[in-house]
Symmetry: C2
């Protein structure tokens, strides 16, 4: 099977980068001798936790918003999200000077609601079910004519997410492998499409919580198996892949590693202590796959996309001593 031809190629990802680069941070690449010793590889961490709104999602949202025609843009953008995509879309809309309508579940974290509101978006609350979110978003579209921007099942978003590995490969041109966490698959898709076209020999790996392993099971089965009842601390990786992102994974990704919850927490704390940078559990998943030696990268130069750093500092997943 081949990948649908509509998918963004490296040229589209380069165009996306030119389109968004004035609105995003060029995030640094972090290294650590200790991390290299423990993983047996030379690891280059692309610090998207330091990105605007604290996650790579700023890239895809900006590319989607700045790809709209003037007429489309004037009516604004809409999405449903309780997480980083909501803040990313609100920021991108604010930067273009257009309205953002965000549908959030009534149980969304107060800090997330506050940050979306601070970015100037109009929030509509709904029941915390996918059906209610979709119905409510459709009603907002009906009322406003706003353009819907899906968090990952969207070529413009995928192209935007691919700009992270574009920058990483500019900074470290001779990477032999890249590891990214997979939830809905937007970051994985953009990464794989860009890396495989521009560096034919490179390996692209996904990392996923064992407790939310739809990507791994889908990859093994060669068919899309939706996520059911995920229970992981990596709250950015709870979503199912789409047909589009599954097809990219199937055709362009070399393997999917899974890690258990203890490995995720251990990797998260390791990154905080050794790298001094705050990553959320979802970002730690990729580091956990390396620390637990789940991937065949011994002695290689390996890039990792640290996807985000939005955590509640009052609820850290390690216990205080008595």
């Amino acid at each position: 099977m081949t990948t649908p031809t509509s998918l963004p190629n490296a040229a589209a990802i380069r165009e996306a980068h030119a389109r968004i680069k004035n609105y995003i941070h060029r995030t640094p690449v972090l290294t650590s001798r200790t991390l290299n010793e423990l993983t047996g590889a030379s690891v280059y961490l692309k610090a998207e936790n330091l990105q605007k709104i604290g996650a790579f999602k700023a890239r895809g949202a900006h590319n989607a918003v700045f790809s709209l025609s003037g007429t489309e843009a004037a009516r604004g953008v809409v999405t449903h999200s309780s997480g980083n995509h909501a803040a990313a879309l609100a920021l991108a809309a604010s930067n273009r000077g257009i309205p953002a309508y965000i549908v959030m579940p009534s149980n969304a974290a107060k800090t997330k609601v506050a940050s979306v509101r601070r970015l100037g978006a109009e929030i509509t609350f709904c029941e915390p079910t996918l059906a209610a979110r979709e119905t409510t978003a459709a009603a907002v579209r009906q009322r406003t004519g706003a353009a819907f921007v899906h968090p990952y099942d969207d070529d413009r978003v995928i192209a935007g997410q691919g700009t992270a590995v574009l920058e990483l490969l500019e900074d470290v041109p001779d990477l032999q492998a890249v590891v990214v966490p997979v939830g809905g698959g937007g970051l994985l898709s953009g990464t794989a499409l860009y890396a495989k076209e521009t560096r034919p020999g490179i390996r692209v790996y996904a990392a996923e919580p064992l407790m939310a392993d739809d990507a791994s099971r889908s990859f093994q089965a060669r068919r899309l198996i939706p996520q059911t009842a995920p229970r992981t601390i990596a709250d950015g990786l709870l979503t199912s892949m789409s047909a589009r992102t599954f097809a990219v994974m199937r055709d362009h990704v070399d393997d999917v590693a899974t890690v258990d919850e203890a490995a995720i927490v251990e990797a998260m704390r390791f990154v905080w202590e050794i790298l001094k940078t705050i990553v959320e559990p979802s970002a730690a998943v990729a580091v956990a796959a390396l620390l637990r030696r789940k991937l065949p990268v011994d002695g290689q130069r390996v890039g990792v996309i640290l996807s985000g750093g939005n955590v509640d500092l009052d609820r850290l997943p390690w216990e205080r001593p008595a």
Copy 2:
């Protein structure tokens, strides 16, 4: 009064940078729109929390160790420290392939002891008093012939610490002010000497905990007033300045701001949440001075040296909700 002519000038600091640059990280400069809004300035944070061993101290220690002659170096280096300087000197000695002898108080944190030991240093424990530390270090010197490297009262160390602002001014050449935390005054001295010589109009400010305000009182009195009974969470800033670092402050620093403990914790949490980077309380002191508008930098481009990021994640200074 004039500054003693032996003090490192900009040329010496450039030499130090050439000497150490292959052993240290070129740390990134972080920015945040939110921080700019809250401070009323354009703030550029030099992330020395991401430096080797998690603190700028790696710079001074490497410059001291790599300034030694071959004969001197062969006998090793010795210091007494329970903090970042111990790890910095151990790393620098390891990089030169020479012995490091570290005198640590018997009550030093286990994690700090472990990290110094992991770096290959020989540790000698002593009673937790300054007198015991100095006597023990003198005995180690006697036995080994190792060169003593003071954490801040040393021109080679001061020159090394000055390389942080050298890099910052390369990245942001038109800074109008720089703010650094002051403890013993090594970082402040290196920063002021380099910045004032190379950018005559720049303002250099120190920031200090109100609960350990020897620098502020000394600055006001124009004479060195030693620290007595400091009680601050900023454990890197407990030490007294020396005659040497006081003279630099008196002659080259524009003002010293003090901040209370609540402001330090608030700034630390702010940096963690907004910048996603782990700073220790001592580093947060400089940010607190800006957040609390203690310095006349309104509308200016201001550099801040985030001095370090070594914290115990099990003992964070904010409470969990019940």
